[in-house]
């Protein structure tokens, strides 16, 4: 028992698909089809991911030895800044919503497209314009503020192109707002007959929660970055202590977006995992409504914990106490999800297809990332490990071990739907394994380093930290192999992969009832929904009868 894929012989590719509905540059760059826009996003964010990854490689190479061998400290500052900005704003935030979400959300609810296709296309253009601004700052000398743009460092003390980089992020933020707006309205108004709220796939629920956060939090980042640009350009004094401004206010405003943004980056991953686990366990999800509501709860509580990034920034003891408590509370809905996924697998008929391997990796890595988050929510421990590698390891466990792994799970899961062809199973399983091992070797030592006191954002360190740093760099090489492999075999599968058929995994969900790749308008007739989501039990029974 290794695979659920049982492809009958002589499957044919469907005749009319969204891929052959038009040819030429214009048919792609002026498309209003959510599926093609998803592909535009997919290609763009893959480029950005490669760039951000290259920065990470350079950082790890520099940290191989305690001495500064490769870069000067200024260059090193630019490297981790560009790594952070690119990965957060140009890869992780749009990763699942704008690619997988764009592609499958309308199909999951039985709609022909998103509510506002032109806005959807515009959001991609806005995203790319933002990227042009930020990357022009990189090219013309780089940015060295750190991805957080803390004032007054960013406004008064640096001579790099902070304004261009910040405006680029602000512009890309509007792309994220428009995607969220589109998803919210689509989920409310475009559901197929019979698709009630509690029959929605959990991926849609988590997209809905993410969209709420995007719509409510991103505009605050926009205005904050505008104020940074004004402060830098005109010295208006709003964040400048010399003129009476308060730099800590910047931190409040920044984290009011950027903590919810952490949930923008992880909630979509929860959605993917909630699809993958029931499918490859052949079981109904355990506690559907608990999983659905926990997504919404995370979205809501996510707005109330931002100051836990500022325990060492001089906020009052009482507000620190409250934010610490709230940060502990937000762990509850996350834990509910993990327990529900585990309970779903219990007595299930588990198939170790690639998406499932990634999903299992996700549960393990996200749990470590989440639990170390509780250490950081604890005031005493936070004082000790603030701005050390402990924090770096913690958020990489959530962002990479969580979101990136979930993104890969989803990409493999829906790859046959997007392209009509299967990815090759053996190399894909291998790359999932390599990614998991490489990731742990890279980031687990960083917990220890941080606890021992190695601060983040320095390119030198005392020699006694070298062993763990060498281990981490070695792990990064393994991780890089695991992440580069899919690029090769996925491209290979575009031409040589097995033809997938409509529903290669025998999954529930409307997106699997249409052809792979789907036709231009997704469905030949509007589907009518009569069943709950994840009704794998009755599907299994049918197969026994037929078989």
């Amino acid at each position: 028992m290794s695979t659920a894929t049982q492809v009958p012989a002589a499957l044919e590719m469907p005749r009319d698909t969204y891929l052959n509905a038009g040819y030429g540059v214009k048919s792609w760059f002026l498309t209003k089809d959510h599926k093609r826009i998803a592909i535009l996003y997919l290609v763009s964010i893959t480029m950005f991911f490669l760039f951000g990854g290259l920065m990470a490689v350079l950082i790890r190479l520099e940290l191989l030895t305690p001495a500064p061998d490769l870069f000067q400290s200024d260059t090193y500052n630019k490297l981790f800044t560009m790594h952070g900005i690119t990965m957060v704003f140009f890869f992780l935030v749009p990763s699942i919503p704008a690619t997988l979400g764009n592609f499958v959300l309308p199909m999951m609810i039985g709609a022909r497209d998103l509510a506002f296709p032109k806005v959807n296309l515009a959001s991609w253009y806005i995203f790319m314009i933002g990227a042009c601004f930020t990357f022009s700052a990189y090219i013309s000398g780089g940015v060295d503020t750190g991805w957080t743009f803390y004032t007054p460092l960013s406004t008064s003390y640096l001579n790099t192109h902070v304004v261009a980089a910040a405006l680029g992020i602000m512009i890309a933020g509007f792309a994220s707002i428009f995607t969220g707006l589109n998803f919210i309205v689509t989920t409310h108004r475009m559901r197929a007959p019979g698709m009630t709220w509690f029959r929605l796939p959990l991926f849609v629920w988590s997209m809905y929660a993410v969209s709420l956060v995007q719509v409510l939090a991103t505009p605050v980042l926009a205005i904050t970055l505008i104020l940074v640009a004004l402060e830098r350009g005109f010295h208006i004094g709003i964040f400048n202590p010399q003129l009476g401004g308060d730099p800590v206010l910047f931190q409040h405003m920044f984290w009011f977006y950027s903590h919810p943004a952490v949930y923008i980056m992880i909630l979509p991953g929860f959605g993917v995992i909630s699809e993958v686990i029931p499918c490859f366990s052949r079981k109904r999800i355990f506690g559907y409504s608990a999983v659905a509501f926990s997504s919404v709860a995370i979205g809501v509580f996510g707005f109330l914990v931002w100051a836990h990034h500022m325990f060492a920034a001089g906020i009052s003891t009482y507000s620190a106490l409250v934010f610490s408590l709230l940060s502990f509370i937000i762990a509850i809905p996350s834990a509910i999800k993990v327990f529900n996924w585990t309970a779903t697998m219990y007595k299930g008929s588990i198939h170790f297809n690639t998406p499932m391997l990634y999903a299992l990796a996700f549960i393990g890595l996200f749990t470590i990332g989440g639990l170390t988050g509780l250490f950081l929510a604890c005031l005493g421990i936070d004082m000790h490990v603030t701005a050390t590698y402990f924090v770096v390891a913690h958020f990489h466990y959530v962002m990479v071990g969580g979101m990136l792994v979930a993104y890969l799970a989803g990409l493999h899961f829906w790859w046959p739907k997007m392209t009509g062809r299967m990815y090759p199973e053996p190399p894909a399983q291998l790359s999932a394994l390599i990614t998991f091992i490489g990731f742990n070797i890279t980031f687990f030592p960083q917990f220890v380093l941080g606890y021992m006191g190695m601060p983040r954002r320095y390119h030198t360190y005392p020699p006694e930290f070298q062993v763990l740093n060498v281990l981490s760099t070695a792990g990064a090489s393994v991780l890089a192999v695991g992440l580069l492999l899919p690029m090769f075999y996925l491209l290979w599968s575009l031409k040589y992969g097995e033809i997938a058929g409509n529903n290669p995994y025998r999954a529930t969900g409307l997106e699997w009832q249409t052809e792979s790749p789907p036709p231009m308008h997704n469905f030949h007739e509007t589907p009518i929904v009569t069943q709950e989501a994840y009704d794998y039990e009755s599907m299994n029974e049918e197969e026994v009868v037929i078989g």
Binding site: A111, R112, D113, L114, A115, F116, P117, V119, I177, L181, N182, I184, V185, H188, R189, M190, V215, L216, A217, T218, P219, V220, A222, I223, T224, I226, L227, L230, F234, H235, I236, G237, I238, L243, G244, G245, D246, L249, H252, M253, F256, P519, H521, H524, E525, T526
Partner: protein
């Protein structure tokens, strides 16, 4: 599958030309557009909310400076602009009503009136900015706050005078962002007037006018908050 697909495709092509592919009925299309606009306005609230939050913090920290700054801007022009903007909301509401009853000329007339009032607002705002520029009240290298010549009042202490820079930063950021929204609104109004004059908004399909009306009222409401917060801080000398 082929015959059925053909009928669906044919169905998609023989529909109301105003009905977009992804919708089943005009009503669904209209509801969707409205919801989209409301969600967008919520985004806008959060956008301005950041500024209102900063305002709250600094007003508590530097209240005397906020009083001094507020007293230096012209209450006459501010009140005039408030009146202009409220009138423009009325004309906008009349424009939406005209579209609903299918009165094309009235629609064009009311939209043009709204445009005119919007331009008046921006012109007055420009005059106020110009005054601030000549008084060196624009934050930056040339910022300089002198107590306006009002006999019988104690001059503002030096530290308060320098803190007014924060007040003026917020004044320009908040009214500037508001003015930017007005300028975008004026641009959209021009397009709407052009389309309305060609008869593009029949009574069963004027969602665009309605949605723009929502936007315009929203921008108006933002001003209704900005006016007291920026212009009317402790105008009576006896209060302090």
């Amino acid at each position: 599958m082929d015959s059925h697909a053909a009928t669906v495709e044919a169905g998609l092509h023989h529909r109301d030309p105003e009905l977009h592919n992804q919708f089943d009925t005009l009503e669904q299309q209209k509801d969707t557009a409205h919801l989209g606009m409301w969600v967008f306005l919520i985004t806008e609230i959060m956008f301005f909310g950041g500024l209102f939050g900063a305002y709250l913090v600094y007003r508590n920290l530097y209240y005397p400076a906020f009083v001094a700054g507020s007293n230096s801007i012209s209450i006459f022009w501010g009140t005039l602009n408030t009146a202009v903007l409220i009138c423009s909301s009325l004309t906008m509401a009349m424009a939406v009503h005209s579209a609903a009853i299918g009165a094309r000329k009235l629609l064009v007339g009311f939209l043009s009136l709204t445009l005119l009032l919007g331009l008046i607002f921006l012109a007055v705002k420009g005059k106020e900015y110009y005054d601030k520029w000549t008084e060196h009240h624009v934050p930056g290298a040339n910022f300089h706050f002198d107590d306006p010549e009002r006999p019988g009042e104690a001059p503002v202490p030096a530290d308060v005078a320098s803190q007014t820079s924060i007040y003026f930063s917020l004044y320009f950021a908040m009214t500037g962002m508001h003015a930017l929204h007005m300028i975008i609104g004026v641009g959209i109004l021009l397009a709407l007037i052009w389309k309305a004059s060609r008869g593009s908004f029949p009574p069963h399909h004027y969602t665009m006018v309605e949605n723009f009306g929502l936007y315009w009222h929203f921008v108006d409401i933002i001003w209704i908050f900005l006016f007291p917060l920026l212009y009317l801080i402790s105008r009576t000398p006896a209060m302090h």
